[in-house]
Protein backbone atom coordinates (compact mmCIF):
# COMPACT_ATOMS: atom_id res chain seq x y z
CA UNK A 1 0.00 0.00 0.00
CA UNK A 2 1.18 3.49 -0.76
CA UNK A 3 0.08 6.92 0.34
CA UNK A 4 1.24 9.62 -2.04
CA UNK A 5 0.85 13.39 -1.85
CA UNK A 6 1.67 15.38 -4.95
CA UNK A 7 2.19 19.12 -4.77
CA UNK A 8 -0.50 19.21 -2.11
CA UNK A 9 -1.95 22.50 -1.00
CA UNK A 10 -4.45 23.23 1.73
CA UNK A 11 -6.55 26.17 2.73
CA UNK A 12 -8.61 27.18 5.72
CA UNK A 13 -11.34 29.76 5.41
CA UNK A 14 -10.21 30.73 1.90
CA UNK A 15 -6.59 31.38 2.90
CA UNK A 16 -3.75 29.13 1.80
CA UNK A 17 -2.17 27.47 4.83
CA UNK A 18 0.43 25.40 3.00
CA UNK A 19 1.31 24.40 -0.54
CA UNK A 20 3.69 22.16 -2.43
CA UNK A 21 3.72 19.28 0.08
CA UNK A 22 5.23 16.14 -1.44
CA UNK A 23 5.70 12.73 0.14
CA UNK A 24 5.26 9.07 -0.65
CA UNK A 25 4.91 6.46 2.07
CA UNK A 26 4.97 2.71 1.59
CA UNK A 27 4.26 -0.25 3.86
CA UNK A 28 5.88 0.12 7.26
CA UNK A 29 6.82 3.77 6.81
CA UNK A 30 6.00 6.65 9.11
CA UNK A 31 5.85 10.39 8.57
CA UNK A 32 6.16 12.78 11.49
CA UNK A 33 4.71 16.20 10.71
CA UNK A 34 6.10 19.03 12.82
CA UNK A 35 5.81 22.78 12.68
CA UNK A 36 4.67 25.82 14.60
CA UNK A 37 1.08 26.32 15.74
CA UNK A 38 -1.07 27.24 12.77
CA UNK A 39 1.36 25.77 10.23
CA UNK A 40 -1.41 23.49 8.97
CA UNK A 41 -0.56 20.13 10.55
CA UNK A 42 -4.15 19.31 11.45
CA UNK A 43 -5.37 20.65 8.12
CA UNK A 44 -2.95 18.32 6.31
CA UNK A 45 -4.24 15.30 8.23
CA UNK A 46 -7.86 16.23 7.60
CA UNK A 47 -7.15 16.67 3.89
CA UNK A 48 -5.50 13.24 3.71
CA UNK A 49 -8.53 11.72 5.45
CA UNK A 50 -10.80 13.47 2.96
CA UNK A 51 -12.57 15.52 5.64
CA UNK A 52 -11.44 18.74 3.97
CA UNK A 53 -11.28 19.37 0.23
CA UNK A 54 -7.89 19.45 -1.49
CA UNK A 55 -6.99 23.02 -2.50
CA UNK A 56 -4.22 22.08 -4.94
CA UNK A 57 -2.42 18.95 -6.08
CA UNK A 58 -3.74 15.58 -4.95
CA UNK A 59 -3.54 12.71 -2.47
CA UNK A 60 -3.58 9.14 -3.72
CA UNK A 61 -3.92 5.88 -1.87
CA UNK A 62 -2.83 2.84 -3.86
CA UNK A 63 -2.81 -0.88 -3.40
CA UNK A 64 -5.56 -1.07 -0.80
CA UNK A 65 -7.52 -3.55 -2.88
CA UNK A 66 -11.24 -4.04 -2.53
CA UNK A 67 -11.29 -3.51 1.23
CA UNK A 68 -9.52 -0.16 1.28
CA UNK A 69 -10.20 1.64 -2.01
CA UNK A 70 -9.44 5.12 -0.65
CA UNK A 71 -7.47 6.81 2.10
CA UNK A 72 -10.75 7.60 3.90
CA UNK A 73 -11.73 3.94 4.07
CA UNK A 74 -8.21 2.80 5.00
CA UNK A 75 -7.55 5.25 7.81
CA UNK A 76 -8.00 5.56 11.53
CA UNK A 77 -8.30 9.26 12.25
CA UNK A 78 -7.37 10.22 15.80
CA UNK A 79 -8.04 13.92 16.12
CA UNK A 80 -7.91 16.31 19.05
CA UNK A 81 -11.27 15.01 20.18
CA UNK A 82 -11.62 11.47 21.45
CA UNK A 83 -14.90 10.62 19.65
CA UNK A 84 -16.24 8.90 22.75
CA UNK A 85 -19.55 9.47 24.54
CA UNK A 86 -19.19 10.44 28.17
CA UNK A 87 -22.58 8.94 29.10
CA UNK A 88 -21.55 5.47 27.89
CA UNK A 89 -19.02 3.21 29.57
CA UNK A 90 -15.56 2.83 28.06
CA UNK A 91 -16.44 -0.68 26.98
CA UNK A 92 -19.72 0.36 25.34
CA UNK A 93 -17.87 3.08 23.44
CA UNK A 94 -15.22 0.69 22.18
CA UNK A 95 -17.76 -2.01 21.33
CA UNK A 96 -19.66 0.52 19.24
CA UNK A 97 -16.57 1.61 17.28
CA UNK A 98 -15.55 -2.02 16.80
CA UNK A 99 -19.00 -2.83 15.38
CA UNK A 100 -19.10 0.35 13.29
CA UNK A 101 -15.61 0.06 11.78
CA UNK A 102 -15.28 -3.73 11.60
CA UNK A 103 -13.51 -6.07 14.01
CA UNK A 104 -9.72 -6.01 14.26
CA UNK A 105 -7.01 -8.20 15.65
CA UNK A 106 -7.70 -7.38 19.29
CA UNK A 107 -10.86 -7.69 21.33
CA UNK A 108 -12.15 -4.82 23.44
CA UNK A 109 -10.80 -6.20 26.76
CA UNK A 110 -7.43 -6.96 25.20
CA UNK A 111 -7.19 -3.48 23.67
CA UNK A 112 -7.91 -1.93 27.06
CA UNK A 113 -5.22 -4.10 28.67
CA UNK A 114 -2.79 -3.03 25.96
CA UNK A 115 -3.24 0.67 26.72
CA UNK A 116 -3.12 0.03 30.47
CA UNK A 117 -6.81 0.55 31.18
CA UNK A 118 -7.63 -3.04 32.09
CA UNK A 119 -10.35 -3.35 34.70
CA UNK A 120 -11.95 0.07 34.21
CA UNK A 121 -14.00 -0.74 31.12
CA UNK A 122 -17.19 -0.60 33.17
CA UNK A 123 -16.73 3.08 34.11
CA UNK A 124 -18.52 5.83 32.18
CA UNK A 125 -16.09 7.55 29.83
CA UNK A 126 -16.91 10.88 31.48
CA UNK A 127 -15.34 9.73 34.76
CA UNK A 128 -11.87 9.23 33.26
CA UNK A 129 -8.96 11.64 33.56
CA UNK A 130 -7.53 13.41 30.48
CA UNK A 131 -4.73 10.90 30.04
CA UNK A 132 -7.06 7.95 30.54
CA UNK A 133 -9.47 9.37 27.95
CA UNK A 134 -6.64 9.66 25.47
CA UNK A 135 -5.59 6.08 26.15
CA UNK A 136 -9.17 4.90 25.64
CA UNK A 137 -9.18 6.76 22.31
CA UNK A 138 -5.93 4.99 21.40
CA UNK A 139 -7.57 1.66 22.25
CA UNK A 140 -10.09 2.58 19.55
CA UNK A 141 -7.26 2.25 16.99
CA UNK A 142 -6.71 -1.34 18.11
CA UNK A 143 -10.24 -2.73 18.15
CA UNK A 144 -10.63 -2.46 14.38
CA UNK A 145 -8.02 -2.83 11.68
CA UNK A 146 -6.98 0.05 9.41
CA UNK A 147 -3.63 0.11 7.60
CA UNK A 148 -3.28 3.90 7.71
CA UNK A 149 -3.13 5.74 11.03
CA UNK A 150 -3.63 9.52 10.91
CA UNK A 151 -2.72 10.85 14.34
CA UNK A 152 -3.16 14.44 15.43
CA UNK A 153 -1.13 15.13 18.60
CA UNK A 154 -1.69 11.53 19.72
CA UNK A 155 0.34 11.80 22.93
CA UNK A 156 -1.17 15.04 24.24
CA UNK A 157 -2.01 14.48 27.91
CA UNK A 158 -0.19 11.14 28.21
CA UNK A 159 2.39 10.42 30.89
CA UNK A 160 5.89 9.17 30.12
CA UNK A 161 5.06 5.47 30.52
CA UNK A 162 1.96 5.73 28.32
CA UNK A 163 3.93 7.66 25.69
CA UNK A 164 6.47 4.85 25.52
CA UNK A 165 3.74 2.24 25.39
CA UNK A 166 2.08 4.13 22.52
CA UNK A 167 5.44 4.33 20.73
CA UNK A 168 5.59 0.54 20.97
CA UNK A 169 2.08 0.23 19.52
CA UNK A 170 3.02 2.43 16.57
CA UNK A 171 6.20 0.44 15.91
CA UNK A 172 4.17 -2.77 16.02
CA UNK A 173 1.69 -1.29 13.55
CA UNK A 174 4.56 -0.32 11.23
CA UNK A 175 6.19 -3.75 11.55
CA UNK A 176 2.87 -5.24 10.45
CA UNK A 177 3.05 -3.23 7.21
CA UNK A 178 0.97 -0.27 8.37
CA UNK A 179 1.50 3.41 7.60
CA UNK A 180 1.55 6.18 10.21
CA UNK A 181 1.21 9.91 9.63
CA UNK A 182 1.50 11.78 12.93
CA UNK A 183 1.38 15.50 13.62
CA UNK A 184 3.14 16.31 16.86
CA UNK A 185 5.35 18.59 18.92
CA UNK A 186 6.64 15.80 21.12
CA UNK A 187 9.11 13.10 20.09
CA UNK A 188 7.15 9.92 19.39
CA UNK A 189 9.99 7.43 19.58
CA UNK A 190 9.73 6.38 15.95
CA UNK A 191 13.25 5.68 14.70
CA UNK A 192 13.67 5.96 10.96
CA UNK A 193 10.47 7.97 10.54
CA UNK A 194 10.59 10.64 7.92
CA UNK A 195 10.04 14.19 8.99
CA UNK A 196 8.00 16.88 7.34
CA UNK A 197 8.46 20.36 8.72
CA UNK A 198 5.50 22.56 7.88
CA UNK A 199 5.56 26.29 7.49
CA UNK A 200 9.08 26.49 6.00
CA UNK A 201 8.02 27.55 2.52
CA UNK A 202 5.90 30.50 3.34
Amino acid sequence: MRLIAENLGGERGGETVFSGIEFALGDGQALVVTGANGAGKSTLLRIIAGLLPVAAGRVRFEGGGEDFPSAASACHYLGHLDAMKSALTVKENLCFWRDFSGAGSRGVEEALETVGLGGIGHLPFGYLSTGQRRRAAIAKLLVSHRPLWLLDEPTAGLDKASEERFGGLMRKHLDGGGIVVAATHLPLGLEGARELVMGMVG
Binding site: A49, Y77, A83, M84, K85, A87, E92
Partner: protein, 237 residues
Protein backbone atom coordinates in the same frame (compact mmCIF):
# COMPACT_ATOMS: atom_id res chain seq x y z
CA UNK B 1 -11.49 -10.12 -0.03
CA UNK B 2 -13.09 -11.23 -3.26
CA UNK B 3 -16.28 -13.19 -3.54
CA UNK B 4 -18.16 -11.03 -1.09
CA UNK B 5 -21.80 -11.62 -1.87
CA UNK B 6 -24.59 -9.10 -2.03
CA UNK B 7 -26.30 -10.80 0.90
CA UNK B 8 -23.11 -10.69 2.98
CA UNK B 9 -22.71 -6.98 2.39
CA UNK B 10 -26.31 -6.40 3.39
CA UNK B 11 -25.92 -8.42 6.59
CA UNK B 12 -22.75 -6.50 7.42
CA UNK B 13 -24.40 -3.12 6.83
CA UNK B 14 -27.42 -4.03 8.94
CA UNK B 15 -25.12 -5.20 11.76
CA UNK B 16 -23.27 -1.86 11.67
CA UNK B 17 -26.48 0.16 11.58
CA UNK B 18 -27.96 -1.85 14.45
CA UNK B 19 -24.90 -0.98 16.54
CA UNK B 20 -25.37 2.73 15.75
CA UNK B 21 -29.10 2.51 16.45
CA UNK B 22 -28.55 0.89 19.84
CA UNK B 23 -25.85 3.39 20.77
CA UNK B 24 -28.12 6.35 20.02
CA UNK B 25 -31.07 4.79 21.87
CA UNK B 26 -28.82 4.16 24.86
CA UNK B 27 -27.56 7.75 24.77
CA UNK B 28 -31.09 9.15 24.61
CA UNK B 29 -32.21 7.28 27.73
CA UNK B 30 -29.08 7.89 29.79
CA UNK B 31 -28.76 11.01 31.93
CA UNK B 32 -28.65 14.17 29.83
CA UNK B 33 -30.00 12.40 26.75
CA UNK B 34 -33.05 14.63 26.63
CA UNK B 35 -35.49 11.94 25.49
CA UNK B 36 -38.13 13.28 27.86
CA UNK B 37 -37.86 16.95 26.79
CA UNK B 38 -40.25 16.48 23.87
CA UNK B 39 -42.80 14.49 25.87
CA UNK B 40 -42.83 16.98 28.73
CA UNK B 41 -43.30 19.86 26.29
CA UNK B 42 -46.10 17.97 24.54
CA UNK B 43 -47.76 17.27 27.88
CA UNK B 44 -47.41 20.89 28.98
CA UNK B 45 -48.99 22.29 25.79
CA UNK B 46 -51.95 19.88 25.75
CA UNK B 47 -52.57 20.25 29.48
CA UNK B 48 -52.75 24.05 29.26
CA UNK B 49 -55.03 24.22 26.20
CA UNK B 50 -58.29 23.39 28.11
CA UNK B 51 -57.50 26.16 30.60
CA UNK B 52 -56.93 28.65 27.81
CA UNK B 53 -59.86 27.66 25.60
CA UNK B 54 -62.33 27.29 28.44
CA UNK B 55 -64.67 24.47 29.49
CA UNK B 56 -66.49 24.19 26.15
CA UNK B 57 -66.34 20.40 25.67
CA UNK B 58 -67.67 20.47 22.12
CA UNK B 59 -65.08 23.00 21.03
CA UNK B 60 -62.26 21.02 22.69
CA UNK B 61 -63.38 17.83 20.93
CA UNK B 62 -63.50 19.65 17.61
CA UNK B 63 -60.03 21.19 17.82
CA UNK B 64 -58.51 18.15 19.59
CA UNK B 65 -56.83 16.40 16.64
CA UNK B 66 -55.40 19.67 15.32
CA UNK B 67 -54.02 20.67 18.73
CA UNK B 68 -52.46 17.23 19.25
CA UNK B 69 -50.80 17.42 15.86
CA UNK B 70 -49.50 20.97 16.26
CA UNK B 71 -48.12 20.20 19.73
CA UNK B 72 -46.52 17.00 18.46
CA UNK B 73 -44.98 18.85 15.50
CA UNK B 74 -43.42 21.49 17.75
CA UNK B 75 -42.26 18.88 20.28
CA UNK B 76 -40.57 16.97 17.43
CA UNK B 77 -38.59 20.05 16.45
CA UNK B 78 -37.40 20.58 20.01
CA UNK B 79 -34.61 18.00 20.25
CA UNK B 80 -33.53 18.07 16.61
CA UNK B 81 -30.58 20.45 17.03
CA UNK B 82 -28.71 17.81 19.06
CA UNK B 83 -29.11 15.14 16.35
CA UNK B 84 -25.68 15.77 14.82
CA UNK B 85 -24.31 18.50 17.08
CA UNK B 86 -23.63 16.12 19.99
CA UNK B 87 -21.60 13.93 17.65
CA UNK B 88 -19.77 16.92 16.25
CA UNK B 89 -18.75 18.21 19.66
CA UNK B 90 -17.01 15.01 20.71
CA UNK B 91 -15.47 14.24 17.32
CA UNK B 92 -17.67 11.23 16.51
CA UNK B 93 -19.15 12.98 13.50
CA UNK B 94 -15.76 12.97 11.71
CA UNK B 95 -15.56 9.23 12.07
CA UNK B 96 -19.16 8.72 10.99
CA UNK B 97 -18.47 10.82 7.86
CA UNK B 98 -15.25 8.87 7.21
CA UNK B 99 -17.34 5.69 7.14
CA UNK B 100 -18.96 7.04 3.96
CA UNK B 101 -16.64 5.03 1.72
CA UNK B 102 -17.60 1.76 3.39
CA UNK B 103 -21.33 2.28 3.84
CA UNK B 104 -23.33 5.21 2.53
CA UNK B 105 -23.48 8.21 4.84
CA UNK B 106 -27.18 8.55 4.00
CA UNK B 107 -27.75 5.13 5.58
CA UNK B 108 -25.94 6.28 8.72
CA UNK B 109 -28.12 9.39 8.82
CA UNK B 110 -31.28 7.31 8.29
CA UNK B 111 -30.28 5.10 11.21
CA UNK B 112 -29.64 8.11 13.42
CA UNK B 113 -33.06 9.52 12.44
CA UNK B 114 -34.80 6.25 13.30
CA UNK B 115 -33.00 6.09 16.65
CA UNK B 116 -33.91 9.72 17.36
CA UNK B 117 -37.52 9.01 16.44
CA UNK B 118 -37.71 5.87 18.56
CA UNK B 119 -35.99 7.57 21.49
CA UNK B 120 -37.68 10.97 21.64
CA UNK B 121 -40.75 10.96 19.37
CA UNK B 122 -42.26 7.52 19.91
CA UNK B 123 -42.93 8.22 23.64
CA UNK B 124 -44.90 11.24 22.48
CA UNK B 125 -47.04 9.10 20.15
CA UNK B 126 -47.64 6.69 23.03
CA UNK B 127 -48.71 9.56 25.29
CA UNK B 128 -51.07 11.01 22.64
CA UNK B 129 -54.12 8.76 23.43
CA UNK B 130 -54.00 9.79 27.09
CA UNK B 131 -53.78 13.45 26.17
CA UNK B 132 -56.64 12.93 23.72
CA UNK B 133 -58.85 12.36 26.79
CA UNK B 134 -57.86 15.83 28.06
CA UNK B 135 -59.32 17.19 24.84
CA UNK B 136 -62.61 15.30 25.23
CA UNK B 137 -62.03 13.43 21.98
CA UNK B 138 -64.06 10.32 21.18
CA UNK B 139 -62.27 6.94 21.02
CA UNK B 140 -62.29 6.74 17.21
CA UNK B 141 -60.75 10.19 16.94
CA UNK B 142 -58.09 9.35 19.53
CA UNK B 143 -57.20 6.15 17.71
CA UNK B 144 -57.03 7.89 14.33
CA UNK B 145 -54.88 10.73 15.69
CA UNK B 146 -52.46 8.32 17.38
CA UNK B 147 -52.22 6.30 14.16
CA UNK B 148 -51.59 9.36 11.98
CA UNK B 149 -48.96 10.58 14.48
CA UNK B 150 -47.27 7.17 14.37
CA UNK B 151 -47.12 7.28 10.58
CA UNK B 152 -46.52 11.01 10.12
CA UNK B 153 -43.97 12.01 12.78
CA UNK B 154 -41.05 10.09 11.16
CA UNK B 155 -41.45 12.45 8.18
CA UNK B 156 -40.85 15.42 10.49
CA UNK B 157 -37.68 13.80 11.84
CA UNK B 158 -36.41 13.10 8.31
CA UNK B 159 -36.95 16.71 7.17
CA UNK B 160 -35.51 17.87 10.47
CA UNK B 161 -32.34 15.86 9.89
CA UNK B 162 -31.64 17.88 6.75
CA UNK B 163 -32.11 21.10 8.72
CA UNK B 164 -29.97 19.81 11.59
CA UNK B 165 -27.19 18.88 9.17
CA UNK B 166 -27.17 22.35 7.63
CA UNK B 167 -27.06 24.03 11.05
CA UNK B 168 -24.66 21.53 12.67
CA UNK B 169 -21.80 24.01 13.00
CA UNK B 170 -23.90 26.72 14.63
CA UNK B 171 -23.77 26.84 18.42
CA UNK B 172 -27.39 27.95 18.77
CA UNK B 173 -28.78 26.22 15.71
CA UNK B 174 -32.07 25.11 17.26
CA UNK B 175 -34.01 28.20 16.26
CA UNK B 176 -32.61 28.20 12.73
CA UNK B 177 -33.54 24.55 12.30
CA UNK B 178 -37.12 25.26 13.35
CA UNK B 179 -37.35 28.15 10.91
CA UNK B 180 -35.84 26.09 8.09
CA UNK B 181 -37.88 23.00 8.74
CA UNK B 182 -41.30 24.32 9.76
CA UNK B 183 -42.50 25.35 6.26
CA UNK B 184 -41.50 21.95 4.88
CA UNK B 185 -43.48 20.10 7.54
CA UNK B 186 -46.75 21.88 6.72
CA UNK B 187 -47.90 19.23 4.16
CA UNK B 188 -47.34 16.52 6.78
CA UNK B 189 -49.42 18.52 9.27
CA UNK B 190 -52.24 19.13 6.75
CA UNK B 191 -52.61 15.49 5.74
CA UNK B 192 -52.14 14.23 9.28
CA UNK B 193 -54.89 16.47 10.64
CA UNK B 194 -57.28 15.86 7.74
CA UNK B 195 -56.93 12.09 8.12
CA UNK B 196 -57.60 12.43 11.86
CA UNK B 197 -60.75 14.44 11.15
CA UNK B 198 -61.73 11.99 8.40
CA UNK B 199 -62.10 9.25 10.97
CA UNK B 200 -64.72 11.14 12.99
CA UNK B 201 -66.45 13.63 10.64
CA UNK B 202 -68.55 11.48 8.37
CA UNK B 203 -68.37 12.84 4.83
CA UNK B 204 -64.61 13.35 4.98
CA UNK B 205 -62.48 10.41 3.84
CA UNK B 206 -59.87 8.88 6.16
CA UNK B 207 -58.01 6.59 3.79
CA UNK B 208 -56.97 9.09 1.10
CA UNK B 209 -55.18 11.64 3.29
CA UNK B 210 -53.76 8.78 5.36
CA UNK B 211 -52.22 7.17 2.28
CA UNK B 212 -50.79 10.50 1.14
CA UNK B 213 -49.32 10.95 4.63
CA UNK B 214 -47.72 7.49 4.38
CA UNK B 215 -46.35 8.35 0.95
CA UNK B 216 -44.90 11.61 2.31
CA UNK B 217 -43.10 9.73 5.07
CA UNK B 218 -41.65 7.17 2.65
CA UNK B 219 -40.59 9.87 0.20
CA UNK B 220 -38.91 11.93 2.91
CA UNK B 221 -37.24 8.82 4.36
CA UNK B 222 -35.14 8.88 1.19
CA UNK B 223 -34.87 12.60 0.48
CA UNK B 224 -34.15 13.76 4.06
CA UNK B 225 -31.16 11.49 4.81
CA UNK B 226 -29.66 12.03 1.34
CA UNK B 227 -29.89 15.82 1.73
CA UNK B 228 -28.52 15.63 5.29
CA UNK B 229 -25.63 13.42 4.20
CA UNK B 230 -24.75 15.89 1.45
CA UNK B 231 -24.78 18.78 3.92
CA UNK B 232 -22.65 16.89 6.46
CA UNK B 233 -20.18 15.82 3.78
CA UNK B 234 -19.54 19.41 2.78
CA UNK B 235 -19.90 20.92 6.21
CA UNK B 236 -16.85 19.36 7.88
CA UNK B 237 -14.14 21.78 8.84
Amino acid sequence: MSGRTEGGAWAKASHIMLALFLRDIRLSIRAGGGALTGVIFFLAVIATIPFGVGPDLKLLARIGPAILWIAALLACLLGLDRLFQADREDGSLDLLVLGNDRHMLALTVLTKCLAHWAGSVLPLVVAAPLLGLFMNMEPAGIGATALTLLVGTPAITFIGAAGAAVAVALPRGGLLISVLVLPLTIPVLIFGVSASYGAVADPDPFLHPFLILTALTLFLAVLGPVAAALALRHGTD
